[in-house]
């Protein structure tokens, strides 16, 4: 058997030029097109579901606004309100949307290196002329960009779907009005959804490299992602910007209230709910005013009996106008974290830790 093509062999090829990056384009496409197709089908199906239920939701909202706009028609408004509240389908509240970024990240990211290491194909892939760490980088970065873009496009549907809940006039009409910082939705709107998908993919890739087995790597990705998401929502997000503080009792429904406390004559008195003794002393008639969702009287009612005795209520809150700054801050650190995780994965491949 003789070579049909004679290839000139550069003898002094120690300073050879590397294989061009764009050659990995076909490789990545060929090996991950099935994954990408699944992601598109999955997001597409969710988007269709959201568009259908969203259509009903928006219709119900329009009806409710027409019925409840002052002067409210007292007969049709309650029914329209119930219809609007009930229109929020299982898709919107269910964990499936919360879990979508991590599902994409875990199932696209974790097997990327874990499968190579589990089946031994890394011995093929990492001994080709392209080189192991360049191979890793040339797979991770384009896939991360494509997945984040797909998630970003999908989240436009989410933004549209949830729009009725964030209209500033809702509260006055007795309709549900959410703060744009509403924890369950903040990560689904704006750039949050794309950023969380990106970080899930990066976590998955690193977990795959560290654990070297597909299924445990997927499980670890989900656990790590959940921990990060809870930490971000619970501890980090309230501190992105120093909260605004007001003594006004008229806090808009769109504000994200973080804490409330009382002062008397300029010194701190108590925070949250007043001590039983104080309550008994100044509000003997029982909880005044309307009762809030947590079964406690609304702060306005409480203020009615405490304010005449020299008490002032203070509220620290994040105003709704900070939604986009918060989105950019969260998207920013998630982007930086993703870049670090990907860099660490590439570094581990380069170090070839075994």
């Amino acid at each position: 058997m003789t070579a049909l093509t004679v290839i000139a062999r550069a003898e002094d090829d120690t300073s050879l030029r590397p294989v061009p990056w764009q050659r990995m384009g076909w490789v990545t496409w060929r090996q991950h097109r099935a994954t990408l197709a699944w992601v598109v089908v999955f997001l597409g199906a969710l988007a269709v579901g959201l568009l259908l239920t969203g259509h009903q939701l928006h219709q119900a909202y329009v009806t409710a606004v027409a019925a409840c706009r002052p002067p409210a028609n007292s007969l049709t408004c309650p029914n329209a309100t119930i219809a609007f509240d009930g229109a929020n389908g299982f898709l919107a509240n269910g964990g499936i949307l919360q879990a979508t970024p991590v599902l994409i990240g875990a199932f696209a990211g974790a097997p990327l290196l874990a499968r190579e290491l589990e089946t031994g194909t890394f011995r093929y892939a990492w001994t080709q002329g392209f080189g192991p760490w360049r191979w890793t980088l040339a797979k991770l970065v384009p896939l991360a960009v494509v997945l984040a873009t797909a998630a970003g496009v999908f989240s436009l549907v989410l933004d549209w779907y949830y729009q009725p809940y964030f209209v500033a006039a809702n509260q006055n009409m007795g309709l549900e009005e959410l703060t744009p910082f509403y924890p369950a939705l903040f990560g689904l709107r704006g750039i949050g959804f794309a950023a969380w998908t990106l970080v899930a993919f990066a976590i998955g890739a690193l977990a795959g490299m560290l654990i070297r087995r597909v299924v445990p790597a997927i499980a670890a990705t989900i656990v790590a992602y959940a921990a990060l998401a809870f930490a971000a929502g619970g501890w980090l997000r309230p501190h992105y910007l120093p909260p605004a503080v007001t003594s006004s009792l008229n806090i808009p429904g769109s504000a994200w209230v973080q804490s409330q406390w009382w002062t008397k004559n300029g010194t701190f008195a108590f925070s949250g709910w007043p001590p039983e003794s104080l309550f008994a002393k100044y509000c003997p008639a029982g909880p005044p005013g309307p009762v809030g969702p947590n079964g406690k009287p609304k702060q306005v009612g409480l203020a009615q009996c405490l304010t005449p005795h020299g008490y002032t209520q203070w509220t620290s809150f994040q105003p709704a106008s900070r939604f986009w700054p918060f989105q950019w801050i969260e998207g920013g650190w998630l982007l930086v974290l993703s870049a670090l995780l990907i860099a660490m994965t590439v570094w581990l491949v380069r170090r070839r830790a075994t």
Partner: protein, 288 residues
Amino acid sequence: MNVIESSGLSKRYHSTWALRDCTLAIPAGHVAALVGPNGAGKTTLLNLAAGLAAPSAGGVTVLGGRPAGSPAALDGIAFVAQDMPMYKNLSARDMLHLTRNLNRRFDQQYAEARLGELGIPLKRKAGKLSGGQQAQLALTLALARRPRLLVLDEPMAMLDPIARHDFMASVMTAMVADGVSVVLSSHVLAELERVADYLILMSRGRVQLAGEVDDLLASHRVLTGPAAEADRYAERLSVVHARRGEAQAHLLVRSTADDPVAPGWEAHPVGLEELALAYLREQTEVTR
């Protein structure tokens, strides 16, 4: 030029040494056989040379001083790992395309012609090929890269006798036609005896013997003589392995054909397998 050169090369996995203090220089232009029992460190040595693992101590270079795993090293070596790893869901054609995209050189015509000659359908998925066909596909991918060094880790393990023969014939053809140096490992010396002209014997993570087969055979002899004299005689010789019977003793010694032999003793040339077994046995007895 040495195709693989190592000094003090060691690799430890957790607390066990897979390879210890391996100093070695395999010159170009040979089919070098890396032989030793399972767990001797053959795969570890080859993985280190291919850049798939980092040494715990020492260093290894390939193709005349290129650090293992460097772009220049990867460009010149085609490594076919144990069990011929391939993407099972990709067709033979896709595997060709993949390998072509991952390397500076790839002789597509050669690869397609070779697979055609072997009757391997390009459309078939790699996972659906027989063991022999998978091995031939892996070899084709490696040879089409036009490497200067072909490294094969346990290439025979998954092949039946006919496929083994065909596979080795392909390797030898490439060696002769393109001047590729070959390093291949096996735990069965008999498989490589006819093709290898350079031998590296390994056991327990150490190199026991290395050299050109002709030199090794010329520098060892078996001396046969009375068992009673064996111990006294052995003191004056460099004995690799001694085997004592009731009356006669057989000493495998380092000596050339010109060295004198004591009266009452006869010298015989040694076979490669006998030589290898003697070194491997000696090693186990010493460490036991």
